[in-house]
Each structure stands twice: as C-alpha cells, then as structure tokens.
C-alpha cells in the first residue's frame, strides 16, 4: 500500500492510532472526537459502483449528497449503478483483476471473499461508531475480519411481516402475531376465511432466504456452530421444518415457485393477506395514483418478524456495505467520501429519501424522523438490530457465501413442504450439502 494511516489522519488525537494494525476499536480515547477528515489526493477523482435503487428517492438523494461532496472537496465522483444481483460478480472481478471502481457498495459477506484486496477502514469505522451511538453488533460482525474493518456497513434492506389489518382482524387477531404458534393459528384462520398468506419458497435470494432463516434460527437450528462445524441436522432444525410444513399448508398455492417479486405482486393484487417484505409494498400502494391502491395502503400494516422459542429476534436481511479496494489511486479521497456520506447531515436525508428502505447500521440513526413520521415505518427501524448474519453462528467467508447462494436452507424447507422428503430426510440432505462447503 502506498500510504500509511499516518498520512491520512488529520486530527491530533487520531495520531495516537497511527500504527498500522493497532487495535483501534479498543483504543477508546483515540476516537473520542467528533471530527475526522482525510485529505483527498491532488487531482483525485473517484468511481463508485452501487446497486441500482429500489426506490427513486434513494438515487436522487445519493447523487445530491455526492454533488455536495464534490462542491466541498473538488473531487469528481462518478456513480455507476448495477442491478443489485450483478454487483457481486462485478465486485469479484474488480477484486480479481485489481482494477475497477474505487468503492463498491456490495452485499452480505462480499468483503470476506477478498479481505486482502480491501483498504482497512478501521479508523473511519471507529470514528463513525463513536460519534453515532455505536455500530450494531451484527454490522460489526459483517464488516470486520480479525479485528480489522474491511467494509463500511451502509445498512440492510430490512423485511417485516406486511399484512392486511382488516383481514387479520377478521381472522380474530388484533394485529399480526409475533409468536410462532400464534402465527400458525393466524395463518390457519386466514386460510379458512379464504384470505391465505404466502411467503416465497422458490430460489428467491432475499425474500426466500429471509423468512426461512428466521424460523430455522428461531427454533435454535443453525447450519454451523461457532467453530464452523455443520450442525444443521438437529432436532431444532427438524422442529423448524415440521412447523414450516404446517404453515405452508395454509399458504396460497404456488409459493414453491415464488421468486423475489411474486409476493409483492400477489399482495398488491389482494391475493394474499400477509407476507414478508421490505417497505416497498406499502410505498407502492401509498404512492400509487390509483384510488383503490391508496385505500389499500391504509389497510397495510407492518410488524417485525416473529420470534421463536429461542426468545430473541433471529432475522436475516439483505445487508449492504461499502468496500474500498486497495488498487484505488485515491484512498484518502475515497475515505473522505465515505465519511462524508455516512455523516448524519447526509445519511439521514438519504435514508428519508429512500423512504426507510434501508435500515441504519449505526444506533444514533434510530432517531431519524423517518421512523416515526408514519408509525407504519417504525418496525423497519429495528431490522438491523434484530438480525443475525449469513452463516450464523459460524464465520463469514467462502463457505457462508456459497451455502447461501446454493439455497441450501431454502431448498431444505421447500423439500419438506413439497412432501417429497420427510423433515428428517430434508435436514440430513441439507447437512450433507452444507458439509461440502464447510470442509476444511
């Protein structure tokens, strides 16, 4: 690397943390400061690759913030967008060939696939965490490796249970329940009223993985333990499978084929009464010009994902974080850009413009008015706080990435639901598949 942190820390207090590789997080005092800046290199310009917006305001505000940065620093920033699932391969290619955008806003465990290709962001993350109420533990887990920050969490496209209040009340529940057994009863009552719920069981990256992991972990099942030993074939897993099988019988038909967008379509068309989704369904209805849709929006409510026998939230959401590649010629400009974009003055308006689609990784942003201006937004505020990580409770890395990409857990649940295999057999098969990737 061409620079040392000594060159980049501009504040006096920060100099204490100058030595590369020092345990900055524990340093405490070194970051008890509320200003930090990096001096952009002469003539610096940046390229940023991020996922294409899910809601329009996100991109508009991101660009506006970027423009502010350019005005303040003179550093030109080019923003490229790629469909969210294409960012991962692009980032991988950039890491492999050692050339490409300076910053890539990627997904899940991307930084753990090429940690040595990334610039250490420990100083920046330490500063932001200190200033904004600390990172949620799961955000730190996602972004750090061996005590070093290799990513800068942006947040998660959180999912909650989205439901039709009037139909749930018709079924005898004040609101959509959060206890697994109550959820099952609610699903049965909804089905009886011919208002079934539905959640994706096809190879749906976000919606499929999200809810089945929540239930698997909620029963205490998991793919691997803390030492990355595969422990998927367990009584807890079988219990989760049996539960979902029963739940599935009360779903709308066809959910085994559902990809990420099916539940949105079905919900807005009034085909289902409840599903797991981001805030987009509500907004699509609320912002629609169609009077019937606006009416529907009034009946849409949200509640956090149910909590299982383990007694604590076990959610999984699409987690996104920025990576700064060490081939970048302008690492200081890039760090300054990241710092600028993550500061409250930029982050909160952006979060508002994105209508709460992205839940913050920093606790202080819980105070963002976006979460309370419409009470229906509030559940989404806690998504990152409530989530566990991909490959819980093992390490993030190659194995967790490929096990998720291979839909091992989704397939396991789908097999049990389709009735092709008993829950026990499905768990055995899935464990065998997982072992292939968690071999040494």
């Amino acid at each position: 690397m061409k620079f040392t942190r000594r060159d980049v820390l501009q504040t006096g207090a920060g100099l204490a943390a100058g030595a590369v590789g020092s345990k900055l997080l524990g340093a405490g005092g070194a970051f008890a400061q509320d200003s930090l800046s990096f001096k952009p290199e002469e003539g610096a310009s940046l390229r940023v690759l991020r996922w294409r917006r899910f809601v329009e305001g996100d991109e508009v505000q991101w660009l506006a913030n970027t423009k502010k940065f350019t005005e303040a620093t003179g550093v030109e920033v080019r923003i490229d967008n790629e469909s969210w699932e294409d960012v991962r391969p692009k980032a991988a290619v950039a890491a492999n060939v050692g050339d490409g955008p300076d910053i890539i806003v990627g997904w899940f465990d991307d930084p753990h696939q090429y940690p040595d290709k990334l610039v250490d962001l420990t100083d920046l993350a330490g500063y932001l965490g200190n200033k904004y109420g600390g990172w949620y533990p799961v955000a730190e887990r996602y972004a750090t490796r061996d005590g070093r920050w290799i990513g800068l969490p942006l947040g998660a496209a959180g999912a909650c249970m989205v439901y039709r209040q009037s139909w749930v009340q018709e079924a005898g529940f004040e609101e959509f329940p959060r206890d697994y057994q109550e959820v099952l009863k609610c699903a049965q009552a909804l089905k009886k009223n011919n208002r079934p719920m539905g959640m994706a069981l096809g190879n749906a990256v976000g919606d499929g993985n999200g809810w089945v992991h929540t239930i698997l972990w909620g029963f205490g099942g998991k793919m691997v333990d803390d030492n990355n030993e595969v422990v998927l074939n367990s009584d807890e897993t079988v219990a989760a499978l049996e539960y979902v099988k029963e739940l599935y019988e009360n779903f709308v038909p066809g959910t085994l084929s559902w990809l990420d967008s099916n539940n949105n379509k079905a919900f807005l068309a009034g085909e289902i009464s409840a599903t797991n989704n981001g805030i987009s369904v509500y907004y699509a209805a609320k912002m629609s010009d169609d009077a019937a849709m606006k009416e529907l929006a009034k009946d849409i409510y949200h509640v956090n994902m149910p909590i299982g026998p383990v007694g604590k939230p076990t959610e999984l959401h699409l987690f996104t974080q920025a990576m700064l590649f060490n081939y970048s010629k302008y690492p200081n400009a890039a760090k300054e850009y990241l710092r600028f974009m993550w500061e409250r003055e930029q982050y909160e308006p952006w979060q508002q413009a994105a209508i709460g689609y992205i839940t913050q990784p920093l606790a202080a942003y819980e105070q963002n008015p976006i979460w309370t201006e419409d009470p229906k937004h509030t559940p989404y505020r806690d998504c990152v706080k409530n989530m566990l990580w991909n490959g819980y409770s093992g390490d993030l890395g190659y194995a967790s990435a490929v096990a998720m990409a291979d839909y091992i857990v989704v397939n396991m649940f789908a097999e049990a639901c389709a009735g092709d295999r008993s829950p026990k057999e499905a768990a055995e098969r899935a464990a065998k598949r997982a072992e292939r990737y968690y071999r040494v």
């Binding site: 699932e85 991962r88 391969p89 991988a92 890491a95 492999n96 696939q113 090429y114 290709k117 069981l201 096809g202 190879n203 749906a204 990256v205 709308v252 038909p253 066809g254 959910t255 085994l256 084929s257 559902w258 990809l259 099916n262 379509k265 079905a266 068309a269 085909e271 190659y398 990435a401 490929v402 990409a405 291979d406 839909y407 397939n411 789908a414 097999e415 389709a418 092709d420 098969r429 065998k432 598949r433 292939r436 990737y437």
Partner: protein
C-alpha cells in the same frame, strides 16, 4: 546526364526471385492469410476454453487464485446429488425439447412450403419467437406461468375446465414441462425456417417423377423429401441440441433452477456455484463436464455430414 542502369547483381536477382517465388507460393501465402483468423480463434475460443479447463482443476474462488488440485472438483461433484439432478434435468430438457422442436419445426416447414396466401408474411411471423430477445420472451412466459396471475389458468378456470390455478412452476414435474414448453416455443422457428430452406432446394421434378411412379404423399415424403433433407436436419439439429443443452436465460428468469432444483441445468448450476457462490473452480468443473456431451453432439453431426450414403438414406 548519362543515365546509368547497373545490372542486377547475382545476389539481388536471387533475392528478388525468392521473394516473387514466395509471393506466388500458395502454401506460404495461404498460411499467412490464415493467421489472422487462426489468431482470433485461438485467442477468443481456444484460450478461454483452455483456461476454463484449467480453472476446473483448481480450487479458485472469487478473489483468490487457486491451487492445482487435479480432478478433486470432479470427484466432489460425483458425490453431489444436486449436480446429478442437474445432469438429469439437462438431458431431459435437451432430449424432449429437441425432439419436440424437430417434429413441430419439420411440420411447420412442410406447411410453409405449400403455396399459401401471404407466404412471405407468414414466414416472417414464424420467425418472431426466434427474434425476440430470450429474456423478454422468458419474462412473458413468467407471467403466463405465474401461480396467481397466469392467463392460461384464468382462461381454463373461467371456462369451467379447472377449479384451481395450475401450479406451473411450483411443482417439480409441471415446472420441467413448463420450461421445456417455453424452450420449444422459442426454438421452433430456427428449425422450421432452416428446414424450409432445405425443402426449397429439392427439385419439384423429383416429386413429379415419384408421383408418376405412383407414390402417395407419405411415400414421397419418406423416400424423396426426407433423404434429401437429411444433411440439413443433421446441421440444424446439432445446433438445436447445442443451444438447448447450454440454455441459461430462460431458466434463470423463470425459476432460478427451482423448485427444489427441478429445473437446474448444468449451465445454471455452474453459474450459481461460480458467481453468486464464489466457487469459480467448482463452477468451471460443472461447465467442463458439459464438454464431452457437446463434443459428442458435434462429432455425431460431423461424421453424419461426411457420410453421403448415410445422408441419402442408405446404409454404411
């Protein structure tokens, strides 16, 4: 000024004649004329293929150069039920879709070869499925097969033929049939138009002669049309099999390989493992595992084309 023309020295004369001899040497020139094409082929076809085979014998992952591990990837795959399911799916998909495309395409070609009104227009329309970008037609099929909004189901329900919507993509067998149907729809025009071109090269006098000899229409088809069409059939079906075997977009849009991997083809599984999963070595191994099958399809066609007797309906 006195112009002086010096006689050519012996060496110069020899050089010149060597140069001019080279310039008129067919082998020498032929070699150099072929070099650009060969370079392009090597660079853009052979080299990536070699690289792919090499990759399949390493444990490369995204972001990390791999070590050579010999055939370990293949050994691991041989123990992977999802891989074998994808092999089965690929064969089922290729065999059924190719047969359907051939039969329906041939039928369509024979129909279009008749004297029909608006012949040119009809032929243009037939080509449409082939022209539309695969992703677009796949999205159209995705709506047709939707579990809640399928117009096919809607029509059948409205007509009182069925009570509940068909679960096109949620049931393993239905999903397989659905993707095969979509692929067939897309592939028929290629077969039909190519075979139509073949049909039009068959001289009408042969049919007339056969008619005079008392052959009925089936006999004319069996003993005149089919043998003359065989070379074209060999080529078109080779291409058709190759396209089908390596299909990716249709599956990726419709099912992502689901439900329960029932529609995962080797190509889609290879992508899933290599790119979203990051296991480049293993993904390459799945892709390389397709090569023997593709090669045998090509060899079949190659030798088929070489055998004129076989083409003309005779025995070897």
């Amino acid at each position: 000024m006195v112009a002086e023309t010096r006689p050519l020295s012996g060496a110069t004369a020899y050089r010149r004649s060597l140069w001019s001899r080279l310039m008129s040497d067919r082998n020498f020139l032929g070699f150099w004329f072929m070099v650009p094409a060969a370079a392009i082929l090597l660079l853009f076809l052979a080299w990536p293929l070699i690289l792919g085979v090499w990759l399949s014998m390493t444990d490369t992952t995204i972001g990390r150069a791999g070590q050579f591990i010999g055939l370990e990837n293949f050994a691991w795959l041989s123990d992977d039920s999802v891989f074998w399911l994808s092999v089965f799916n690929t064969f089922l998909y290729t065999v059924v879709a190719s047969i359907l495309k051939f039969l329906l395409g041939l039928w369509l070609a024979l129909l279009l070869n008749q004297h029909l009104p608006f012949k040119a227009l009809l032929r243009a329309i037939v080509l449409l499925p082939w022209i539309v970008p695969t992703v677009l037609s796949a999205i159209a099929f995705w709506w047709l097969y939707d579990s809640q909004f399928s117009i096919l189901s809607w029509i059948l329900v409205e007509a009182g033929i069925i009570d509940t919507y068909i679960d096109f993509l949620g049931d393993m067998d239905n999903a397989r049939a659905s993707v095969i149907a979509a692929n067939t729809w897309r592939g028929i025009p290629f077969v039909a138009i190519t075979l139509l071109a073949g049909l039009q090269t068959i001289s009408p006098s042969l049919h007339e002669a056969a008619t005079i000899d008392g052959a009925n229409s089936w006999q004319r088809f069996r003993y005149v049309t089919l043998p003359l069409l065989t070379p074209i059939i060999a080529v078109v079906m080779t291409f058709s099999v190759l396209f089908t075997f390596t299909d990716f977009q249709l599956i990726y849009v419709l099912t992502r390989g689901g439900p329960l991997n029932a529609t995962h083809l080797m190509a889609t599984l290879s992508f899933q493992r290599a790119i979203p999963g990051g296991q480049l070595g293993e993904g390459a191994a799945i892709a390389v595992a397709m090569i023997p099958f593709l090669l045998s399809a090509i060899l079949f066609s190659y030798f088929g084309l070489q055998r004129r007797r076989w083409q003309q309906g005779g025995k070897d």
